[in-house]
Symmetry: C2
Subunit: 548 residues, 2 copies
C-alpha cells in the first residue's frame, strides 16, 4: 500500500508515524511545502520571545530522523499543487528547483492546516507586515528584530497567536499595541471573562485598540503605518497580522472535494472526505462541536493529532471515529492563565441553546496554605435540563486543571449539578476540600433546587432605584467605602439579622457582596424571613472587571 | 427543628453552615471536644514545619464568627459522652468544669472523625510520643520542638500524615526516620509506584526502615527509644505515631448504632444511620467505593465535606445522595507530587477484579518549552471490559491535574480506551498536544486492538536466558552502557531494520527501552516481520525504580 500525505506537521506527521506502526510494509511519502516537518507551531511565539532559545527545539523530528525511525520519506520544500482523485495521483512541485512530477497513491491524507487570514487590504504583502505560521515565518520575524531592533509593534488581531506574540514582544521590551475590530480579545471567551484578559494586557503595558477597523498598511518613516477607519493611523516599527486562520484548502477545492465552512474540507467521523481513498484532518477540516453538535472549525493541535491517528487507523483498515471537539484551549497571558472548554454564551445562543451560568472566585488552593490565588470561573449549563455546556476560567495556578476536569466531565455526559459529586484529589498545596469544580456544582445545585436566584452585571443598571426594590451590599463597611455600586445600601451580612428592620417588607431584595458567597448567605437569611432575593452573580469583583 | 451536631470540623461545620442556609429558623448546636472548630486538619503538618506561620490560619471559623454569620452555637471543649436514641437526647460533658448535662434533638448528626490508631504497645502514652489530629496536638508538637530543639525524630508509620510530618520536620533541619511494618510507604499506591516515593524520601535524607515491627517505646537519655522486633532500638529526640486512623465511634457503638469495618458507623447513601433521625458523615462512616462497590473507609476531607452537605440537605427535608468515593488523594512529598484515584492493583485484586495496566513517563508539558519534567503514570483498567479502574501518578507539575481528569473520567463512566478521546486544553506551558491522559488512552487502545503486548518488571527475572526467547534493548549504545538488564542485547531502534538478521527467527522477542515508547515502536517493526513481541511496560526507567 502506498500512502501520500500532504503536510508534515501535527496531523500529517502523527498519521505517518501511526501508519508505520500499523503497517511495516506500507510506502509512506509526506510532502511538506515548508522547509521543516514536525515543527512545534505552538512554540513559535516563544522562540521569537527568547523563552525557547535553541531553534532545534522547534522541530520534534527531521526528515532524517523520521526516515531512520519510521522509514517515512519526508519531502520538504515540496508542494502538492493538484490532486487527481480519479487517477489517484497528485502533482507535486519541488520548490527548490521548480520541477514538477506526479506521485500516485493508494490512499491520500490531507493535513494542510490553516493559513493566516489575509484580508484584502492595501499594503498586505509589505515586507514589514509579518504573519506567523511556519518556522520560516518565525525566523523572518526573529531576524528582523535582531537586525533592526524595532522599538514598537502593532498586532492586528487579538486571538491566541496575537496574544502570545504580544506577550513575547512585550517581554523583549517593545511597545506593543493590539488593534482589532471586535471589542474583545480572545473570542473563545465571553466578553465578561475577556475583561480579565484586557486588564492583564493593560497592566503589562500592552495598548489595546478594540472596536477599530484596520483599513490598510503603509510603509512610513522606516516603519509601518496601520491605517484605521475614522482615526489617525497607528505607527510602529513592525506589524504582525494575526486576525485568525483560514483552512488552507485550495488544493482540495480544485480537486472537487466537498467543502464546508470557510472552505474547510468536509469529512465524516472516520476522517474520510467526499472522494474515495482521500482522508483529511486537522485545521483544514470541518468538525462537529461535541456539545452543540454543530459544524465548527477548530484550529488546535490536540484535535489535529487525534484526527491524524484516527485517519491512520482507517487508512490501515481499522475503524476509528472522531467524537468531535470541545474546543478546549488554554493560553498563558503573562502571569495569567486563561482556559476554556465547550460552549460559551455566544456559541450557545447561536446554537439555539438557552443557557444559565454560575460565576465564582475560588482560590487555586486552600487559603491557609501560602501561594493560593483567586481564579474567576464561569460554568455554563442549559436552562432547565442542567446539561453541562462549557466553562471559562481565568486566573493563575490550577486554571488548566479545572478546565480539563470540566472537559472530562462534559465528555462523560455529567450534568452540571453532578459537578458537586466529583471526587477530586485534595491536599492544601493543590486544592480545597471543596474544589472549585465542586463549588460550581454546589451553586448549580442551588439553582436547580431554587435556593439560589441570580442577577447579573448586565442587569444592574436596569434595576429600579425608586424604592420598589431593595438594593443591598452585604460587605463590610470598609469594602463598601472602597467602592460600591450606586444605589446599593450597606448592611454587612453578619449584622443582617439585627438590622432586618431596615429592609422594607415585601419588596424584592437584590443582594451583592465581593464574590457572591456572602450575598448568597444573606439571600438565604432573608429568604428565611420571607423576602424574595436575588444574588449578584460573581459579585462586585466580577462586576467591576466586566464594567471597567 | 433542633439539630445537634457532634464534631465541629470538616463534616460537622459544613453541615451546620448548610443547615442554616436551608433553614433560618432551625436551632443548631455543635459540640466539639477540642478547643477549636472549623480547623484545617490538613494544614497542621505545615504549621509544625513553619510553612503556615500564623496559628490563626489554622481555623477557618471560630465559635464567635460561626455564631455571627450562621447563628450556630458552637460549644468547644464539650464532649458528647452518650446518645439516647429513644429519648432523642445526648449527654454532654463540659470539659472545662467536668459538669454534665443533657441536650435534646430532633435530628442528630455525628461527624466525630477518626483518631490516630494507637497500638497496644508498651510506652504508648509517654509524653514524647506524639500523635497529630487536633490543633492542640499541633501546638503540643510545635511547643516541644521550640522548647527542646530536638535534633531527631522517628515517625512510626508512613502514610499521608507520616510523610507530611517527615517533610516538615526534615525541612526544619531534623534527622528523620520513618519506621513501619509494611514494606512500602503510602499504601494507596502500589508497591511499584511507591518506589518513586521511597527514592525521593531517601534523596532528601529521610531514613526509611520498612518491613520492621515496632514493639514499644521507652524514654531514654532525654529522648525516646523505639523498640523493634529482632533489631536494636531506634533512638530519637521525639517520636510521632502515625500508623493510620480509626473511626472515633465509641459513642455510636455505645448507643447501639450499627457498625461496619473497624467500628465505623453504617450509613445509607442519604447518610442515615441505623437509628431514626441520626445521621453520620466523614471519617467515622463506612462508604461504598465508587469503583469496586465494596465497603470502604476513606478518611479524606473532600468526602467529609460533601457528606456533611448531603446530610444537611436530608436533615432539612431534601433528598441528596452520596454517590461513593474514589479515594482520590494527593500529597506533596518535598518537590514531588504523588496522587491517586480509584482502585490500585491491590484493591482491585481484593475486589476480585482482574486488571491490566499501562505505565508511561510523559512530560508535564511540551518538551520544547522550558521547565517540563517527567511524571510516572500508571493507569489501571479491567481486563477484557476496559473499565477504567484507577490511576496513580508521581512527578512534579501537573500530576494533580491528570489525577483529577482521571477521577472525572471514572465518574463519567468512560472506558479506559476513551481516554484517548478526551479533548484537553493544550498550550506549551501546560501540556502536550497528546496530553498524558490521552497518551495512556492510546496505549490502552493499542492493547485493546492487539497492537501492544506487554511484560512487566516482575516478569523480567523469570524470562528464560537460554536462547529460547530474544531479549532486546533498543536504546542507544550510550544508554545501554549506563545500565541495562542482564541478558538483554542492544540494537538501537533506529538500526533495527538493518540488523534484523541478528534476531533469531520465530522466537518471541521481549523488547525494552527507557520509557516503553521506543520499544513499542520496535515491537511494531518486528511484528511487521512476523515476530511475536512483548514490550517492557514502563521501560528501564520504571524497572530501575521498582527494582531498586
Ligand atoms: C503560532 C502558533 C501557535 C499555536 N499555538 C497553539 C497552542 O498553543 N495550542 C494549540 O492547540 N494549537 C496551537 N496552534 C495551532 C496548531 O498548531 C494547529 O492546530 C495544528 O498544527 C494543526 O495541524 P495540521 O496538521 O492541521 O496543520 P499544520 O500543523 O499547520 O501543518 C500543515 C502543514 O501542511 C503544509 N502544507 C499545506 N499545504 C500544502 C501543500 N499543498 N503541499 C505541501 N504541504 C502543504 C504546510 O506548510 C504546513 O506545514 C498554534 C498555531 C500557530 C501557528
Ligand atoms: C494531620 C492531618 C492531615 C490531613 N491531610 C489531609 C489532606 O491533605 N487531604 C485530605 O483530604 N484529608 C486530610 N486529612 C483528613 C481530613 O482532615 C479528614 O478526612 C476530615 O477532617 C474528616 O472530617 P470529619 O468531620 O469526619 O472529622 P474531623 O474533621 O476530624 O472532625 C471531627 C471532630 O469531632 C470531634 N469529636 C469527636 N468525638 C466527639 C465527641 N464525642 N464529642 C464532641 N466532639 C467530638 C473531634 O474533636 C474532631 O474535632 C488530614 C488529617 C490530619 C489529621
Ligand atoms: C513528533 C511526531 C511525529 C510524533 O508522532 P507520534 O510518534 O505519533 O507521537 P509520540 O512520539 O508522542 O508517540 C506516541 C505513540 O507512542 C505510544 N507510547 C507513548 N508512550 C509509550 C510508552 N511509555 N509505552 C508504549 N507506548 C507508548 C503511544 O501509544 C503512541 O502510539 P500510537 O499512536 O501507535 O498509539 C508528531 O507528533 C509531530 O510531528 N508533532 C509535532 C507537530 C505538532 O504536533 N505541532 C502542534 C503542536 S506544537
Ligand atoms: C469553614 C466551613 C464552616 C465552611 O462551610 P461552608 O459555608 O459550607 O463552605 P464555604 O465557605 O466554602 O461556602 C460554600 C457555600 O457557598 C456557596 N458559594 C461559594 N461561592 C459562591 C459564590 N461565588 N456565589 C454564590 N454562592 C457561593 C456554595 O454553593 C456553598 O453553599 P451551599 O453548601 O449552600 O451550596 C467548613 O468548610 C469548615 O469548617 N471547614 C474547615 C474544616 C475542614 O474542612 N477541614 C478539612 C480540610 S483542611
Amino acid at each position: 500500500m502506498k500512502i501520500v500525505i500532504v503536510g508534515g506537521v501535527a496531523g500529517g506527521a502523527t498519521a505517518a508515524a501511526r501508519i508505520r506502526r500499523l503497517d511495516e510494509q506500507a510506502e509512506i511519502i509526506v510532502f511538506e511545502r515548508s522547509g521543516y516537518v514536525s515543527y512545534a507551531n505552538c512554540g513559535l511565539p516563544y522562540y521569537i520571545g527568547g523563552v525557547i532559545e535553541d531553534p532545534e527545539d522547534l522541530t520534534l523530528q527531521t526528515p532524517e530522523s523520521f526516515f531512520s525511525r519510521f522509514r517515512v520519506v519526508m519531502k520538504v520544500r515540496h508542494e502538492v499543487i493538484a490532486i487527481h482523485p480519479d487517477e489517484k495521483k497528485v502533482t507535486v512541485r519541488n520548490l527548490e528547483n521548480g520541477s514538477e512530477f506526479e506521485e500516485s497513491y493508494d490512499k491520500l491524507l490531507l493535513s494542510p492546516g490553516a493559513k493566516p487570514t489575509q484580508p484584502r487590504l492595501p499594503g498586505v504583502g509589505l515586507e514589514k507586515l509579518f504573519t506567523l505560521r511556519t518556522v520560516e515565518d518565525t525566523f523572518r520575524i526573529k531576524d528582523y528584530i535582531q537586525r533592526n531592533q524595532p522599538k514598537s509593534a502593532v498586532l492586528a488581531g487579538g486571538g491566541f497567536i496575537g496574544l502570545e506574540l504580544a506577550e513575547n514582544l512585550r517581554e523583549s521590551g517593545m511597545d506593543v499595541t493590539i488593534v482589532q475590530r471586535p471589542r474583545q480579545l480572545m473570542t473563545p471567551f465571553d466578553a465578561d471573562m475577556a475583561a480579565f484578559i484586557h486588564g492583564e494586557m493593560r497592566k503589562r503595558g500592552v495598548r489595546l485598540i478594540l472596536g477599530h477597523t484596520v483599513e490598510g498598511f503603509e510603509e512610513k518613516d522606516g516603519g509601518m503605518d496601520v491605517l484605521l477607519k475614522d482615526e489617525a493611523p497607528l505607527h510602529a516599527d513592525m506589524v504582525v497580522l494575526s486576525i485568525g486562520v483560514t483552512p488552507d484548502t485550495g488544493l482540495a477545492r480544485d480537486a472537487g472535494l466537498k467543502l464546508g465552512i470557510k472552505g474547510s474540507i468536509l469529512v465524516n467521523d472516520r476522517m474520510e472526505t467526499s472522494a474515495q481513498d482521500i482522508y483529511a484532518v486537522g485545521d483544514a477540516v470541518q468538525v462537529k462541536h461535541a456539545v452543540s453538535g454543530q459544524d465548527a472549525l477548530i484550529s488546535l493541535a490536540g484535535p489535529a493529532n487525534k484526527q491524524g491517528r484516527i485517519a491512520a487507523d482507517n487508512i490501515c483498515g481499522g475503524d476509528s471515529r472522531y467524537v468531535g471537539s470541545l474546543g478546549s484551549s488554554v493560553i498563558k497571558i503573562f502571569d495569567l492563565t486563561a482556559a476554556v472548554t465547550g460552549l460559551n454564551e455566544r456559541n450557545a445562543k447561536a446554537a439555539g441553546i438557552e443557557t444559565d451560568q454560575v460565576v465564582l472566585s475560588p482560590m487555586s488552593h486552600a487559603g491557609y496554605y501560602p501561594g493560593g490565588r483567586l481564579m474567576t470561573m464561569k460554568v455554563l449549563f442549559e436552562k432547565g435540563t442542567y446539561r453541562l455546556l462549557g466553562g471559562q476560567i481565568i486566573g493563575y495556578e490550577g486554571v488548566d486543571k479545572r478546565i480539563d476536569v470540566l472537559a472530562a466531565a462534559i465528555h462523560g455526559g455529567l450534568k452540571a449539578t453532578e459537578l458537586k459529586e466529583l471526587d477530586l484529589a485534595y491536599a492544601p498545596p493543590y486544592s480545597s476540600a471543596k474544589d472549585p469544580v465542586n463549588m460550581a456544582g454546589f451553586m448549580i445545585d442551588n439553582i436547580a433546587k431554587g435556593n439560589l436566584k441570580q442577577f447579573h452585571p448586565r442587569d444592574v443598571a436596569k434595576l429600579p432605584r425608586d424604592g420598589s426594590v431593595t438594593l443591598l451590599d452585604v460587605r463590610t463597611p470598609e469594602e463598601y467605602e472602597n467602592g460600591h455600586i450606586d444605589g446599593f445600601a450597606n448592611i454587612p451580612v453578619d449584622a443582617l439579622r439585627e438590622r432586618l428592620g431596615e429592609i422594607p417588607d415585601k419588596k424584592p431584595v437584590y443582594v451583592m457582596c465581593q464574590s457572591g458567597l456572602r450575598s448568597y448567605i444573606a439571600c438565604r437569611i432573608l429568604s428565611g424571613y420571607g423576602f424574595a432575593c436575588r444574588n449578584l452573580s460573581g459579585g462586585f469583583r466580577f462586576y467591576s472587571a466586566v464594567m471597567h
